[in-house]
């Protein structure tokens, strides 16, 4: 199993839940690899260097590493938010992704960027406005830089245009109402993939909480582990 995290503040907010997921999958008998993309978390690189193209390469590297470590040919990828979009993009480029869990994936990069910017605007309402010493060529979203290049790459992300089926088996988890998630469901159901969609009442754990708490949505984790167990039994 490979777990692909979100980026930026969403990565920090989801770390706890994704670790719990890894522990539960390991307890169910699956080897799991969690990793950080280049310029994210513990990995090399500064945040300003984040690139979609590099992160896609990182996922391929991680799949290769996982296969070498486990000796297993089948790979299952779990992707949350942008990690979901990236894993679907990688899955459609290769034929060895057996199963794919898309947990509230980013469907459209433009909307994703708009949401990030409005979240940043909302946060600034409750804190003193930062005083810029010098102009930056990147946008600040809650302490994470979005470079011009990264923004242009993100704008091109659109899962509705992914041509090939990203995996043989797909679980789409939706924990909140969103039009683009419904469109994605429609798009994926027209591929040859075996698709299951689950609508679960769960918090949007990637969003900052008022008390700074990090949420672990138990029902989502249970569903993912159960589906992977069923699919790979």
């Amino acid at each position: 199993m490979l777990i692909c995290p979100p980026i930026g503040h969403e990565y920090v907010n989801c770390h706890r839940a994704l670790r719990q997921l890894a522990v539960r999958l390991a307890e169910a008998g699956f080897p799991v690899l969690r990793f950080d993309y280049y310029g994210c978390g513990d990995s090399a690189g500064v945040s300003e260097e984040g690139r979609v193209s590099r992160w896609l390469e990182d996922i391929s590297t991680a799949i290769l590493d996982l296969r070498q470590r486990t000796g297993l040919a089948q790979t299952c990828v779990v992707g949350l938010r942008l990690g979901g979009a990236l894993s679907a993009m990688i899955g459609s480029q290769r034929d060895d992704v057996e199963s794919l869990v898309l947990w509230d994936p980013v469907v459209n990069g433009k909307s994703y960027l708009e949401n990030l910017l409005s979240l940043q605007k909302e946060m600034l309402r409750f804190r003193p406005k930062p005083k810029r010493k010098h102009a930056r060529d990147h946008i600040d979203v809650l302490g994470f830089p979005l470079s011009r290049f990264l923004r242009s790459e993100l704008e091109k992300v659109d899962l509705l245009t992914v041509a090939e089926k990203p995996a043989k088996n797909i679980l789409l988890i939706q924990s909140h109402e969103a039009d683009d998630q419904c469109s994605l469901h429609g798009r994926l159901s027209r591929t040859e993939a075996r698709l299951e969609c689950q609508r679960l009442e769960a918090p949007q754990i990637w969003l900052p909480t008022a008390d700074g708490g990090l949420l672990v949505p138990s029902q989502v984790l249970q569903s993912v582990v159960a589906w992977i167990g069923k699919t790979h039994s």
């Binding site: 950080d36 513990d42 990182d58 991680a62 804190r127 003193p128 930062p130 005083k131 302490g143 700074g212």
Partner: protein
């Protein structure tokens, strides 16, 4: 994938340590060290955020300090981030201090370092101070948004709520045109304003003897650490009500220690509790680097006195993702 990532200035290694090898951390080493090893810096979890810190600021701090020649360890306490939960009954305040000491022991064995500087935000600041009090290997600490009062439920504590409202009025609303417009157009919360003003008057004239026991022990800790010549830096966000609470809890002792140069109190302007903008990061990093550089090693002058001088900014590393 590998657990060591290097560039020309720093080297990062994922490590497991502690009594049960259950604590996960990343050591950032300088690539070249001349002479005796300097003090090592430990970065302690801010609340329950894992070892990268909010906005990945701990990674920036670790790399910048390593570029100056310090060994830096950022790690997760039990039950936070990637470290497994403890199975004893030790409360967090005690287990975290013990685990910080285990981290120091690990660096002592693996890197030969004998003196330590602790850096922590929020609860990490609390643990830093507690550890400094009980371990003589600690020569200094940088305490970011130190929570000097009990972590109370704001909804249930009207006094705390009013203190926080007062902080907002004095620091922000007073200078905000929109707030004044609200005041003069009848849209302000006049009841709350009156309560806050009453609280300010009460606080000004209240006797210090009425301070809670915890606050008195905080001042006593400051005194004890000053006698041991442990250098403390309190770093506070201007936008954080904890600043007022710190000054109130530290009272005369804090003022005296600041006057003697044993303690410094730096306020990072226009920042919030988690330093959630890149400009906050720059300001925070700048102060941390300056304060840690100025901390003296026993018998070695200041901590940055060796001939190695590296640029004090995060440097790009060459390759590879770190997996766990």
């Amino acid at each position: 994938m590998k657990n060591v990532v290097t560039n020309e200035v720093t080297k990062e290694e994922a490590v497991l340590f502690g009594e049960r090898k259950s604590l996960v951390g990343v050591v950032t080493d300088p690539m070249r060290v001349t002479g005796n090893p300097r003090a090592a810096v430990l970065l302690l979890n801010p609340g329950i955020v894992h070892r990268v810190g909010p906005g990945r600021i701990y990674v920036k701090i670790a790399r910048a300090l390593a570029a100056m020649g310090f060994v830096v360890l950022r790690f997760d306490f039990s039950g936070i981030g990637d470290s497994t939960v403890r199975h004893d009954n030790l409360c967090f305040e005690k287990s975290a201090v013990r685990e910080t000491q285990e981290a120091m022991e690990f660096l002592k064995r693996s890197r030969g370092v004998e003196h330590f500087i602790l850096v922590g935000g929020c609860s990490g600041a609390l643990i830093s101070l507690e550890t400094a009090c009980c371990d003589e290997q600690v020569l200094g600490a940088v305490l970011i948004n130190y929570p000097a009062t009990e972590d109370e439920d704001e909804d249930a504590n009207t006094d705390l709520k009013r203190r926080r409202a007062a902080h907002y009025y004095w620091n922000f609303a007073l200078f905000n045109l929109k707030s004044w417009r609200k005041l003069f157009t009848g849209r302000a919360n006049y009841r709350q304003l009156t309560q806050v003003l009453r609280l300010q008057v009460k606080r000004r004239f209240a006797s210090r003897s009425t301070m809670p026991a915890k606050e008195t022990s905080f001042a006593a800790n400051l005194r004890a650490l000053a006698q041991r010549d442990v250098r403390l830096t309190f770093l506070c966000s201007q936008g954080d009500p904890l600043l007022d609470e710190l000054q109130e809890a530290g009272g005369d002792e804090l003022q005296r220690s600041c006057a003697l140069g044993k303690v410094t109190l730096d306020v990072i302007p226009r920042s919030d509790h988690t330093f959630s903008s890149l400009d906050d990061h720059d300001r925070l990093l700048d102060v941390i680097l300056r304060r840690i550089s100025a901390m003296r090693l026993p018998g070695h002058g200041t901590a940055d006195s060796s001939e190695l001088v590296f640029p004090a900014e995060a440097v790009p590393l060459d390759n590879s993702a770190v997996g766990l």
